[in-house]
């Protein structure tokens, strides 16, 4: 490169990075890198009809009974945070994956991968919390496993839970069923969990009154299904936030999604933290919220059913499904024009200024 500035005509750009020989944190972010990993490695390796549905749970027909089956691993740091801990989260996350299939959750497994040196008192608190959350959700932990790894090979404790539930007759929810004209319902304010966790992170501590929204959503779902069978699809917008969940639905259904930014509830404290940190609440994780794609004629009755439930008191219709721009999520911004709501490559990064 010459030392003198080049004339404009010859300004250049760097070449891209070649290949990706390593697993990056972004592969676990719930964004594009995660989706690529599933599409390119896991789906081809294990291909079968139940997996190909690409929902939060597999639906398995056995002797006339339709079982929902799911698994999730929990690696949250810190282990205890305002609004919950890794124990309650391990129940809520898996119960919610079952609930998003319309299933009544019944049984869980719990596997603990513990780093040596973890204080026994910490483990006891986590187990007590997990037990309480399971009892509150009406599910039983019926099998489990314990492994201890050497100091430095883990991060305190990781928990995996799997869950089984039964899908009632007449319920068939899937992310490939959104149709143009359908309404998009959101059960409450977004971003609480992600901001509550972020506020506790080392080097980032800021004073915050935001608590995680971690909660089991299956009774909310039961109320919604009681109001109408015209619910096409449910998703809980966890990692990757509302953006990732809606992009997945748009992709699997081959439709466009149109959001109205003004209709999306976000708490003042969460908005403030996002403004400060340069984050977009649409990409921040939730652990007690759901998105529902509902036929237009059923939208109001489902919305009323949601609002009657404490976990859906702030529910709102936030957008609709469109035939235009398939596989793309757009949003009418607060000042009027429309923009894309893209799925991020990896984790949302704070901007420099």
């Amino acid at each position: 490169m010459a030392d003198d500035p080049r004339p404009f005509d010859s300004w250049t750009c760097p070449a891209p990075l070649s290949g990706g020989g390593q697993v990056l944190l972004g592969h676990g972010s719930g964004g594009k890198l995660s989706a690529d990993l599933v599409r390119d490695l896991f789906l081809p390796a294990f291909h079968n009809p139940a997996l190909a549905r690409m929902d939060d749970q597999a639906i398995l027909a056995i002797n006339g009974l339709r079982l929902a089956f799911t698994t999730d691993s929990f690696v949250v740091k810190p282990l205890f945070f305002p609004g919950g801990d890794i124990g309650s989260l391990a129940v809520h996350g898996t119960v919610n994956d079952l609930a998003m299939g319309g299933a009544q959750p019944l049984f869980l497994s719990a596997a603990f991968i513990i780093e040596e040196g973890l204080p026994m008192e910490t483990l006891e608190r986590i187990v007590a919390s997990l037990r309480r959350a399971a009892a509150d959700a009406g599910v039983q932990v019926v099998t489990g496993d314990t492994k201890v790894v050497e100091k430095g090979s883990g991060d305190g404790i990781f928990i995996n839970t799997s869950g089984i539930g039964v899908v009632p007759d007449g319920v068939a929810l899937s992310a490939d069923q959104a149709r143009p004209g359908d309404r998009i319902l959101l059960s409450g304010a977004i971003g609480d969990h992600g901001i509550a966790i972020l506020a506790q992170r080392e080097g980032l501590e800021f004073e915050s009154t935001v608590a995680s929204d971690s909660a089991a959503l299956h009774t909310l779902v039961a109320g919604m299904l009681g109001a109408s069978k015209e619910i096409r699809c449910l998703r809980d917008p966890t990692r990757g936030g509302v953006s990732s969940a809606l992009n997945e639905i748009a992709g699997q259904s081959g439709v466009g999604v149109e959001l109205d930014e003004r209709a999306i509830p976000v708490r003042e404290e969460v908005r403030g933290a996002c403004e400060l940190l340069g984050l977009d609440p649409l990409y921040v994780a939730n652990e007690g919220k759901l998105l529902a794609i509902v036929a237009p004629e059923a939208a109001e009755s489902v919305l009323s059913a949601m609002r009657r439930h404490p976990l859906g008191a702030q529910a709102a219709i936030v957008g609709s499904v469109s035939a235009a721009h398939p596989r793309t999520v757009t949003m009418r911004t607060v000042v009027g024009p429309t923009r894309i709501v893209d799925m991020l490559a990896g984790d949302q990064l704070p901007r420099i200024c």
Partner: protein, 369 residues
């Protein structure tokens, strides 16, 4: 949210847009320099509110994008050392160097951390005296005072395990270079409000005078940017070439005197290479000799690392407004935020990445990835 929502109100935005449309009697081409402003324009779709003849061109004001390839390579070299804790603002981590980015260094075992302030890096150095803590000091004039303060404080406390890899850039020399080009199309500038909060706008008065171009110092919210466009259009229509201040709630003519003083005590002006552009004389800041003990480039002997930037994309035309990001044959295909080929695709504040992230739906179908 108070003091935010007022500037994002649809009625105010539409009323400003209508006034712009009434005021503009012919086409004008304006440039916003700062990547933060580009981000706002794209995120809220402000260019859709403007009359057809009025063009906004997105300048080279994304500090992440213009940090030279070889500086990223130097950062990666330092961050890969086992005795180093490398500390950076978040969005620098996925900026590709010649072969790696900092995320990959972290994946391979490097101690790479994200902070919101260089003072957090300083705190790490205090707490971990056995580690060499290196902060990646990049950015425009906006981040310079805090970075200067961190180095100043490190010297005062005798924190010899704290150093900074400095690649600061300055806005006015870049504007001067843009305006000096015979192919320049830009008729008015939206000046960066946060940069001017620190350094004021005296330097911009010289630019307005020398090149007979109107400049408006602007904020970062939708109403700020629309109002600054209105002010520029009014100047152009009235054939005025002044520096005006739209961002009066933050910026004074002389800037922040204490912050400027701190910059001057720790840094000195130098020539600086810009990614994809080349060296612009007097466009950078480096540590003064008296702070050499905290200069990571010298401490780790990485000054010799250089990198060739092969000519692959059209960022030249994009950054001077001759082409739009979507005119590029590789936009959204070979060049995406996951695999950026050019500086403007690197950070969401870069023109190409902002187009890709927020405006892809207006691109012809055959170009979709």
């Amino acid at each position: 949210m108070k003091y935010i929502d007022e500037y994002r109100e649809e009625g105010i935005a539409r009323s400003l847009a209508a006034r712009i449309a009434r005021r503009a009697t012919r086409p004008w081409c304006l440039m916003e320099i700062c990547g933060g402003q580009t981000h706002t324009i794209m995120r809220y779709g402000l260019d859709d509110l403007l009359p057809a003849g009025l063009r906004l061109v997105h300048g080279p004001g994304c500090p992440v994008c213009v940090t030279p390839l070889e500086t990223v390579d130097r950062a990666i070299e330092i961050a890969s050392r086992p005795d180093v804790t490398f500390v950076s603002y978040g969005d620098m981590l996925r900026v590709p160097g010649s072969k790696l980015d900092l995320f990959r260094v972290k994946a391979a075992g490097g101690d790479v951390r994200v902070v919101y302030s260089p003072m957090d890096a300083l705190a790490l150095a205090r707490a971990r005296r056995g580690r060499k803590v290196v902060f990646f000091g990049i950015g425009f004039e906006t981040t310079a005072p805090a970075n200067a303060m961190a180095v100043f404080q490190a010297r005062r406390e005798g924190l010899d395990n704290f150093s900074m890899l400095v690649s600061h850039v300055l806005v006015p020399p870049a504007i001067r270079m843009l305006l000096s080009s015979p192919r320049n199309l830009v008729q008015g500038f939206i000046a960066p409000g946060h940069v001017c909060t620190v350094v004021g706008w005296e330097e911009y008065e010289a630019l307005a005078r020398d090149f007979r171009v109107p400049i408006v110092v602007a904020g970062f919210e939708p109403a700020d940017l629309l109002e600054s466009v209105l002010m520029l259009v009014a100047q152009l229509e009235e054939v005025r070439t002044e520096v005006e201040n739209q961002y009066a709630r933050s910026v004074r003519r002389e800037g922040n005197v204490a912050a400027k003083d701190m910059i001057g005590r720790v840094f000195e002006v130098c020539d600086r290479k810009w990614r994809g552009i080349g060296t612009i004389p007097g466009s950078g800041l480096r540590l003064r000799q008296e702070f050499a003990a905290h200069d990571a480039e010298k401490l780790f002997g990485v000054g010799g690392i250089s990198a060739e930037e092969p000519p692959e994309c059209i960022s030249a035309e994009v950054l001077q407004g001759l082409k739009r990001p979507t005119d590029c044959p590789v936009f959204g295909l070979a060049c995406t935020p996951e695999h950026p080929m050019g500086a403007p695709m690197v950070s969401s504040e870069g023109a190409c990445a902002a187009y890709y992230q927020y405006r892809r739906h207006s691109i012809p179908r055959e170009k979709e990835a």
